[in-house]
């Protein structure tokens, strides 16, 4: 049964990937500036050269044709060549993916640790001042522009993964705090507290199982949050990761690169969310 569910998920993942790649190509194609090239403003170029530059974009105008060819090549491992960087997309992804994985991985680890620890402390301590302080802290980092955060980290030579964790932790804290607080306020928890059951036991045995499934869903979604945070942090700090590549691809209307990066992000998002769904199933199965 579980294996059937996994296969079901894989089918959904594949269909979503194909649709996602096509939609991203379509969005890019329909957006203004698709066929424009910065080189057209180079006044040294002759009319013939400018015409040639414009025609070179013509191959990508028919989006169905482009996507079909892209998939055909992708099956053989050829992801095309980046128009803006002049290098094979496969090589670019291979070089940059480990950097972003490290960055986001560390960022999520620290973000979850801080966010969850703060949420647990607030809920279990039941002290208003702590709640207000934590809310203020989360609010501060939510209100700080990513550019300022990135600059501060460069200024203090701090690792960029911490910048990602500071972008992600306020959101994780807000959701976690509310979910845990809701569970903590359930009647049977109040009864247990009244009967003198220890805080740790209450939290581990009664609060966490109730909030667990939604926290797992949040864990899956937090991967998207980290990837989203990686784009401005990498772009601003000059870190050669997937986030920076995505930003360059978007601004340069680099279709091959854009579709590949979107598919990659979709794969990661789907994998994370599917993983959390499966974990939830196992968790609830164990509970039953």
């Amino acid at each position: 049964m579980r294996i059937m569910r996994i296969f079901g998920h894989l089918e959904t993942i594949l269909a979503t990937l194909l649709i996602g790649g096509f939609l991203s190509a379509t969005l890019a194609r329909l957006a203004p500036g698709f066929s424009a090239d910065e080189q057209e403003l180079d006044f040294r170029l002759s009319a013939e050269s400018i015409r040639q530059i414009r025609e070179s974009h013509a191959q990508q105008r028919n989006i169905l044709h482009f996507y079909f060819n892209y998939l055909k090549r992708a099956i053989h491992g050829d992801l095309g060549t980046s128009r803006s960087l002049g290098q094979p997309v496969r090589q670019l992804i291979a070089d940059r993916l480990p950097i972003t994985v490290r960055l986001c991985g560390l960022g999520l680890l620290v973000g979850w640790t801080v966010g969850l620890a703060l949420a647990i402390a607030v809920v279990m301590a039941q002290v208003r001042v702590l709640d207000v302080f934590a809310a203020g802290l989360a609010g501060t980092f939510l209100s700080l522009p990513a550019a300022v955060l990135a600059l501060l980290f460069v200024y203090f030579n701090a690792p960029a993964s911490l910048a990602i964790s500071l972008i992600v932790f306020p959101k994780l804290f807000s959701f976690s705090r509310n979910l845990l607080a809701q569970s903590y306020g359930l009647p049977h928890i109040i009864t247990a507290r009244a009967k003198g059951l220890g805080s740790a036991r209450i939290f581990g045995w009664h609060v966490l199982p109730v909030a667990g499934p939604q926290m797992l869903a949040l864990a899956g979604v937090s991967v998207s949050m980290a990837l989203g945070a990686a784009i401005p942090v990498e772009a601003l700090c000059g870190i050669p990761g997937i986030g920076q590549l995505a930003w360059q691809a978007a601004l340069g209307r680099d279709l091959s690169l854009l579709v590949t990066v979107t598919v990659l992000v979709t794969v990661v998002t789907l994998a994370a969310n599917t993983g959390s769904d499966l974990a939830m199933d196992m968790f609830r199965g164990q509970q039953a």
């Binding site: 698709f34 080189q39 180079d42 940059r96 990761g241």
Partner: protein, 537 residues
């Protein structure tokens, strides 16, 4: 015994020389590139980062000395232009080798020129030489002599070779084998480009020491100027080639001695109105924009002194016309900066039937005068200038909408869809010779921004500019060319197709550890004499 002494002496000399050269040789120069280079092929260079690589690695026949603005010999020891301006002959330096050891000869120059002028390549550098249709001929009478012949006269031909980096016709490394002071040793996309000293570089100093002094140049890729300024202040990079005025002033509080203001650069910021006949904008607006009085009035209504003071903190000067005063030979000294005169602006507008009703200016048909100015987002100086212009023109009763767009969207509007009303952009000028701007001034050209690709000139003054530009392109005598181009500048100021706003100053920063640097106006401002720079340990 005697043999041992001689041997010991020789060893001592060898070691001493090595130690001496080690002590005197430079370390690594570090600065930032603002984007990835798009190509390492010098013939295809079209972006700043690639141009930087080309300048540092490419060997050229002649070089425009960035300080004196005069031509000086490089790989060519002598050259001669033909009387008809169609051909040029070079005598080449002997015993010169590429970075991989391949010998250099006239054959390599011929190979380079043939590739450069190949229509299929569409090289911006090659297009600069294209003055007429027909084949380019290269004659190689001997290994160190070459004559290059073009189908039509090429104005300022000799100076154009400053941009032509010679490729090897024989090296298996192709464009990666170079004749310049450095070669590309390593490149990591999004991260850095590492150049190392060319062991076969031909140039030597007066003491016979091989140049360059520096061992290597490391250029990290960083687009964020805040981070660049921060790292320069901390000494983590050695120079900032083109510093913004805001960072200049911020750095001045702690590192004033490291900063240099070389005065007005060749670059200008300007605004223009869309005069394209089939542009998708209302007909009454097209009528405004095509009126010379309207354009002159707008120009008079803009306070350029304020732009220089507020936006650029006085690190800019009000622009006079198409040529910056930094271009010593070509600048028309008779031209004066446009004054700020709202009263005259209103008079000119009234002449065209505009009238002020309360706080709104209306045209003769009662339409309120309102238009948008587009500029590229992310450039805070242009955003600020546009906001200041919005207020200035607001005082005339004109409502201006400021629209910042991402660059591809902006380019599409001004080159393809023509769906815009006014635009504010800058002109980055690397070339002193106005012939480089042929495609801006000719009415039939693609970069004739306000109304490109005209089948025939739509106004008399554009026809006159066409005639003058063609005349200067075919003239050989520099003074005659100057007289033609002076008149082009005068017409540009009279008819105001471009409203020239400011000429920014060339600002740069150089670490005290770098010896031999003399920042100037022409690009590259700080490392134009890179082979002479040193960072002694």
């Amino acid at each position: 015994m005697k043999r041992r002494s001689i041997l010991a002496f020789l060893i001592f000399v060898l070691v001493a020389t090595r130690v001496l050269s080690y002590a005197q040789s430079g370390d690594e120069l570090r600065f930032y590139l603002r984007s990835d280079p798009k190509t390492f092929n010098p013939l295809l260079v079209a972006d700043d980062a690639s141009e930087t690589i080309r300048y540092l690695t490419g060997g050229v026949l002649v070089r425009v000395n960035r300080q004196t603005q005069q031509l000086q010999p490089e790989l060519a020891t002598a050259w001669k232009l033909s009387k008809d301006g169609k051909s040029i002959s070079f005598n080449l330096r002997e015993h010169v080798y590429f970075s991989d050891g391949t010998p250099f000869s006239a054959q390599d120059v011929a190979y380079t020129v043939q590739h450069l002028m190949d229509p299929a390549v569409h090289s911006p550098t090659g297009d600069s030489f294209r003055s007429g249709s027909g084949e380019v001929r290269t004659d190689v009478p001997s290994p160190n002599r070459i004559t290059i012949s073009f189908p039509a006269p090429v104005a300022g031909m000799d100076k154009l070779f400053d941009h032509v980096a010679v490729l090897s016709s024989r090296s298996p490394k192709q464009e990666m084998a170079v004749l310049g002071p450095f070669y590309v040793a390593d490149y990591k996309s999004g991260s850095y480009v590492l150049l190392k000293r060319n062991p076969n570089y031909w140039k030597r100093d007066s003491a016979g020491r091989q140049l360059p002094y520096l061992n290597s140049i490391r250029m990290d890729i960083q687009s964020n100027r805040d981070i660049e300024a921060l790292r320069f202040r901390r000494g983590e990079i050695d120079l900032v080639n083109s510093l913004d005025s805001e960072y200049y002033d911020r750095l001045a509080s702690t590192s004033a001695k490291l900063l240099h203001d070389a005065g007005p650069s060749l670059d200008s910021e300007q605004m223009w109105f869309n005069q394209v006949g089939n542009a998708p904008i209302p007909a009454y607006k097209k009528e405004w924009f095509r009126s010379t009085n309207f354009r002159r009035a707008i120009s008079l209504g803009i306070n350029r002194a304020d732009l220089c003071r507020v936006v650029f903190a006085l690190h800019a000067r009000p622009a006079v016309g198409p040529v910056s005063p930094a271009n010593k030979f070509w600048f028309n000294t008779k031209l004066q900066p446009q004054s700020f005169d709202p009263a005259s602006a209103l008079r000119l507008l009234q002449h065209d039937g505009f009238r002020r009703e309360g706080s709104t200016l209306r045209d003769r048909d009662g339409h309120p005068v309102e238009f948008s100015i587009i500029t590229n987002s992310g450039n805070k100086y242009r955003e600020r200038m546009t906001t200041m212009i919005q207020l200035d023109l607001g005082n005339l009763g004109i409502h201006v909408n400021v629209v910042t767009l991402d660059f591809p969207s902006l380019i599409e509007r001004i080159t393809q869809s023509f769906n815009y009303e006014a635009a504010l952009l800058g002109l980055v000028n690397d070339d002193l010779d106005p012939n480089a701007q042929m495609n801006v001034w000719l009415s039939s050209a693609e970069n004739h921004q306000w109304n490109p690709s005209q089948k025939s000139p739509e106004t008399n003054w554009e026809a006159e500019i066409d005639r003058l530009m063609r005349a200067q392109a075919s003239a050989i005598d520099p003074n005659k060319r100057k007289s033609y181009f002076d008149r082009v500048q005068e017409i540009a100021v009279e008819q105001v197709p471009f409203i020239y706003l400011v000429n920014k100053n060339a600002l740069s920063g150089i670490s005290a550890s770098v010896e031999g640097a003399t920042p100037i106006v022409l690009r590259p401002q700080t490392y134009w004499n890179v082979e002479w720079l040193n960072k002694p340990r």
